[in-house]
Symmetry: C2
Subunit: 478 residues, 2 copies
């Protein structure tokens, strides 16, 4: 912990020292012209009154439905996104191929055996192999308890982590919750377990288990790994309080070669002279979803919000100086493949990215705004925050970070903004069959569209930059 804190401090110091604007002279202060602020006020009201984001989200989740990376639905989503960008009047639309391992879920079931025989509802974790295992269940209260289990102590048994993820508006419960998913299977293998079960990383109480990607540490032989719905986990825990329980887990799932999908990119061309229109403000969401639901809050909403925000900017009499680029990223769910591919392709264009923001935390109202703006852009950052304030958005400098698909670009030096949503209910739905369009509140979605439209328009209209600059390669630690 101390080591990593030190690393952060060093990087911050480096950034301050090495920022190009700091070489030789103080950087010019970034400001947003008053005329642009006035336009943004109008845009905000237009967006609040528009149902465009809601209709785009409805279109994707209804016409395409589930679109797990590499699936037939994913391919239809790519075609949908290109057609939708064109229908919405984007000036330029293109795709960027993204290749990744393809994972398939064919069937899954489980049941308690013996005197209390009954079915259990679960779902395979993404990346799990198939297999049928019958064994006694050994319960652990949390990840640390399983990680402390002695090697071979679970031979032939099923490891089960019964950790309850906590509800929080900022989603802070998901860190520990998702670690149970990402690290639990490897810990189970080290203890010799034949299969791995966990209470879903979710905050609901419905028979809808939460999937999500897991991984197996190098050198370990993967075992069938699945998440029980929260009520089923509670049931299993009650049964274990009565006595030992044998469970049968049958998963038919696994990796199957590679697949190619696409980042789908649309632009509203800027109106600025010379190089300014070649600069982009990047907003977006991810196009893929898990297979269980129709990917409404994760992340149809993010696609709908950002497509609509840019489209509404495109409908203005005059575009802002810089170009608005919307990216519908490929395969976020299984490892940020689209975000990484984007960062790799545009690694030489860091400074052409004015700033980037992703919407990938559901469809709740935006509660706060923050960005990575350095000192010379803090005045402009404050101007954006002031324009967002009438939407009920608080300025929280220093909080938040780039969205997942922006992360790889931000690591390379792209400036980022965070429009942080109310995620109180997000993990009721996230990665479950229940992630469907009916869960989206149209007013909250319109507020999101207004927030992204205002942010993107103002950032694209600023005179000066938000600090994007290629970062020096971090030297390997000794």
């Amino acid at each position: 912990m101390r080591a990593s804190l030190l690393a952060v401090a060093l990087v911050a110091g480096l950034a301050a020292t090495l920022h190009p604007g700091n070489v030789g002279a103080a950087p010019r202060e970034t400001r947003i012209p008053d005329a642009a602020i006035a336009q943004a006020t109008q845009l905000r009201e237009t967006a609040l009154a528009s149902d465009l984001g809601y209709r785009i989200t409805q279109s994707l989740t209804t016409e395409v439905g589930p679109r797990m990376a590499g699936s037939e639905g994913d391919a239809r989503a790519v075609a949908w996104a290109q057609a939708k960008f064109r229908e919405l009047g984007f000036d330029k639309v293109w795709t960027q191929p993204v290749t990744f391992p393809k994972w398939l879920r064919r069937s899954e079931s489980a049941s308690v055996l013996g005197a209390n025989a009954q079915p259990l509802t679960l779902t395979a974790l993404g990346g799990s192999p198939g297999g049928t295992v019958e064994g006694e269940v050994v319960r652990f209260a949390d990840l640390a308890a399983l990680e402390a289990a002695a090697p071979s102590s679970l031979a032939g048994k099923i490891a089960y982590i019964d950790y309850t993820m906590q509800r929080a508006a900022d989603g802070s419960g998901y860190g520990p919750g998702s670690r149970v998913r990402s690290r639990g299977p490897s810990a189970a293998i080290r203890a010799g377990a034949a299969a791995y079960l966990m209470r879903s990383a979710g905050t609901d109480s419905h028979r809808n288990p939460h999937t999500g990607i897991t991984r197996f540490d190098d050198g370990l032989t993967p075992i069938p790994s699945a998440a029980l719905s929260v009520p089923d986990a509670q049931q299993l825990t009650r049964l274990l309080a009565i006595g030992p329980q044998r469970v049968r887990v049958a998963l038919d799932a696994g990796w199957d070669g590679t697949a190619t999908s696409y980042n789908v990119i649309g632009e509203i061309t800027g109106s600025g002279a010379g190089n300014r229109k070649q600069d982009v403000v990047l907003i977006g969401g991810h196009l893929d979803s898990w297979d269980l639901g129709t990917g409404a809050v994760d992340d149809g909403a993010g696609v709908g919000i950002t497509m609509a925000a840019a489209a509404l900017i495109g409908q203005m009499k005059k575009a802002p100086a810089r170009t608005i680029r919307v990216v519908a990223f490929a395969n976020e769910e299984q490892g940020l493949y689209g975000g990484k591919a984007y960062a790799l392709k545009y690694a030489g264009d860091i400074r052409r990215h004015q700033i980037a923001a992703e919407s990938d935390f559901g469809a709740g109202r935006v509660l706060s705004y923050a960005s990575s703006a350095p000192a010379h852009a803090l005045a402009a950052d404050l101007q954006i925050a002031q324009a967002l304030a009438p939407l009920g958005i608080t300025h929280t400098p220093g909080k938040g970070g780039p969205g997942p698909d922006i992360g790889p670009s931000a690591e390379q030096g792209v400036a980022w903004a965070a429009l942080r949503q109310d995620g109180t209910d997000y993990f009721d739905l996230h990665h479950t069959p229940d992630d469907t369009f009916d869960k989206i509140d149209p007013q909250a979605l319109a507020q999101n569209v207004a927030a992204y439209a205002v942010f993107a328009y103002l950032a694209a209209s600023a005179e000066g930059d938000f600090g994007s600059a290629a970062k020096p390669v971090t030297p390997p630690r000794e």
Copy 2:
């Protein structure tokens, strides 16, 4: 409508005329002794502080789990109920065999075909045959619209009723909602449809479809019939708004001979002299559940509430004059088989049934009390209502009716009481995978136990009857 109102008036008139107490002289007024009222006050507080009902419900739903009539779980539930009655100190425990047709659900799936291909979550209606049907979906807004469809107009197609059941504390939305389930399939067959789909008769918004028994009118050839979850119905309706949709429905389900289960009956013997202890106050719930959930609110709670209420009476220093009989009815869900078998067996003992009440509307708090008490028992009825009032229970004379399994006995003349619960959320869970123990609030359950204990104790202590008397056979109408 007029004819049936007239029939009700005639029956009421007959009852007033023919009640044995009315023959010759005015009936003696039924009263509850002050000492019994004092005992009931104590019992009420004891019950409110007890978690016995909650623990019984937990035991049934956890140890047995799903227990669809005729299933292995149902057989375990019968054994569980006998053992639980004995463990709770009931004086007499026995079973009554109940035979019925056995229905099986093996698998079920559906998907939209074509350009918007995607899976749909549904569940077969109880009684549906199996079969795989592919066809164009024709939507109807409600049952009347389908019933108005011309014969053969749906040949080769799938009829779909998209009726939205309304939420109400008294469950009044379930009448029209469940008629879509019970009468929709026959209407679909008459219009020539190859399969039948409906929006679930439920008030939730989760991917958990609501099953429930349906029936096919005589002379019709049954077709595969299923309920979509509410979000899936909304999705299908949105898809139909885009254009025609072909859907594949595959059900593996159907009738498979007969099965025998059991009404399980336990008694706390009364302390009254002579015939009084042979009289019974009957309370109960039904032991079977649907297969999708663990039958917590339907009707594990009813079994737990009434078993606990009687057990707490059994723990008093002195039992009330009459016997408390608890019946865990067999196979309510598929046609009130247990309730009908009970009424048939005890048809000669109508007057020995002081009064009967069933808990089968979930685990919400009891909001109101009413009974079928005739004029000479209204004072005692009021005494019971007054003893219930501190539990937040309103006296609503003339409202409500007997619970489903009491119905056949009430038709024969057994007096009934209704302790009507808050059913606001009941149809979020009813007949779905989500009907699990975690949904039960222990405080609300304790309030129910207190209400049933007070009611049963006072009715068993009354001097005089509540009007049970064999009804004359209704003459066939001309």
